[in-house]
């Protein structure tokens, strides 16, 4: 599903956001990316949905070489994945239903297909009851669920979430994590970056830790314990 080989991302000033990252993720895996602020988590995820391209190295996602991709092919590439952010990225003028439908409408889906698919996605995140509410009327956790539902709309093979629980309290975070696990169990590959150790600890999931742009540990499912180093 994901194949990063010796990937570096460099800025003009010679500043490197990622240095020599090699990472392989199988279809259907669930991976946490952790690391301190500025470690390069967001950068790593941006490579996956081709917001950024590597300065050197190879990034292959869903069988597509990200660096070699023509700009015209990016939309089709992104339709096969879902992206979720810390700040939700919902459109405040649209209802919950419309926000999820939005992802389908912009890809030219037909009305009938939209009416069938949106409730499925909202059902998955447990928010069908609030489908006529506006984002402003929802709690942070609920808004994040809507964002996840929207990311699911196009049946993605890969779900990428950048600190989906960064703004949420621990209980709510756990709820979001549950939703992500459920999505993963249905077969979708999930990559989640987080600061939130509570979310990672004792979850028996694969954890990849970044520091200063490099992978400093990559522990297989079940073996991760909280890093002893002090974090923010």
């Amino acid at each position: 599903m994901i194949d990063l080989h010796d990937v570096s991302v460099e800025y003009d000033q010679g500043h490197r956001a990622l240095r020599g990252v090699t990472l392989h993720v199988e279809d259907g895996e669930f991976v946490f990316i952790i690391g301190a602020t500025g470690a390069g988590k967001t950068m790593l995820l941006k490579l996956l949905y081709r917001e950024e391209t590597p300065t050197s190295g190879r990034v292959v996602v869903n069988g597509c070489d990200v660096a070699a991709m023509r700009p015209g092919d990016v939309p089709r590439f992104r339709r096969r994945m879902g992206v979720v952010f810390q700040d939700f990225g919902l459109l405040p003028g649209l209802t919950v239903f419309e926000n999820v439908a939005f992802a389908l409408r912009v890809t030219g889906a037909r009305r009938r297909a939209i009416r069938a698919r949106v409730p499925e996605c909202l059902e998955t995140v447990g928010l069908m009851a609030r489908c006529d509410a506006f984002p402003g009327q929802l709690s942070g956790g609920e808004q994040q669920r809507v964002a996840i539902a929207r990311a699911l709309a196009n049946h993605p093979a890969l779900l990428v979430a950048d600190e989906p629980t960064g703004n949420l309290d621990p209980t709510t975070s756990l709820g979001i994590a549950e939703v992500l696990y459920r999505i993963n169990e249905a077969g979708t590959t999930v990559v989640v970056s987080t600061h939130d150790h509570a979310m990672v600890d004792n979850q028996l999931r694969r954890v990849v830790e970044l520091a200063a742009g490099a992978v400093i540990r990559d522990e297989a499912q079940g073996s991760y314990q909280q890093s002893p180093r002090p974090e923010e």
Partner: protein, 300 residues
């Protein structure tokens, strides 16, 4: 693209036009004014040109040779006339030719002018001089009247009303063109600014669209529609304005047979003017939106 997707785009464009409020009005107004100036100038030039074209023997000087002159001296007059600077061509129109044409005219009109002449041809030989530039008409005509052409009895040249008309038309073309150009630049700026505001107002939406895999055409289309709307709607308003003014002027001046109001049926020229203006306006709208999208919308 499915119908519902297209309806979605149109809906988007309409929403943003409403949301832009004052900017939309500013965009529409500048387009309207620019198009009205352009359309008004074009219409006036068009009418003046039609009027000028409807005048017979444009830019031509007719030199009537003394009937007593023989064929050789007619030919020599023609030669010398052809060598006057500014003359494009000088052609002899013989009295025989003139008589034949008159006969033909008799047959068409069922008159008997030639027959009544009883074999005498009173017509003079004539030399038709065409000048290369209407501005030299008077000078060439005066040259032909001068003693250097003793064989020429009479010279008839274009009246200078026509050259005044041409000068006027040129002034309208230049001034109208310059003003319209300036206004178009202003229009381009205003439309561009409006599109930029729209992009800014919708940056979240655009971002989400990009992330869920909307094609860049799909993202751009509402902006193109918006720009086209400003161009086309402004131009339509301007066309209505121009046609209204023309109708008013015509109804007052119709009886005086002015160059602007006489001749061609108005419906023909009106349709042409409207189509031209709306096409130009839409083109300006599309062009500016394309430029603004290039400038302000981050690719993918």
């Amino acid at each position: 693209m499915s119908f519902s997707a297209f309806a979605f785009l149109v809906d988007d464009a309409a929403k943003s036009i409403r949301r832009n409020g004052l900017m939309s009005i500013a965009a529409l107004t500048t387009v309207t004014v620019a198009m009205a100036v352009l359309g008004g100038s074009l219409f006036t030039i068009y009418r003046l040109k039609q009027f000028a074209d409807s005048q017979p023997r444009r830019f031509e000087i007719l030199a009537f040779v003394d009937p007593k002159a023989d064929a050789a001296s007619v030919e020599s007059v023609r030669d010398r006339a052809a060598h006057i600077p500014g003359v494009a061509s000088a052609v002899v129109y013989t009295k025989d030719q003139a008589l034949r044409d008159l006969q033909a005219e008799d047959r068409r009109q069922h008159t008997e002018i030639v027959a009544s002449l009883e074999g005498i041809n009173p017509l003079p030989d004539r030399i038709d001089v065409r000048v290369s530039d209407p501005a030299v008409t008077v000078r060439v005509a005066n040259e032909l009247r001068s003693p250097r052409f003793p064989e020429i009895e009479q010279v008839r040249d274009e009246n200078d009303a026509l050259s005044k008309l041409i000068a006027l038309s040129n002034v309208i073309r230049n001034v109208g063109g310059a003003v319209a150009l300036l206004l178009f630049i202003a229009t381009a700026f205003v439309i561009q600014n409006t599109i930029r505001l729209t992009i800014y107002a919708r940056r979240r939406e655009i971002r989400v669209m990009q992330l869920v895999g909307a094609t860049s055409a799909f993202i751009r289309l509402p902006f193109l529609l918006e720009g086209t709307f400003y161009g086309a709607a402004g131009a339509t308003a301007a066309a209505c304005l121009v046609l209204f003014v023309v109708a008013q002027v015509s109804s007052y001046a119709g009886q005086f047979q002015t160059p602007l109001t006489q001749g061609v049926p108005p419906a023909v020229s009106s349709a042409v003017i409207v189509v031209m203006m709306v096409a130009t306006g839409s083109a300006v709208g599309v062009g500016t939106s394309v430029i603004s999208l290039r400038r302000f919308l981050r690719r993918v």
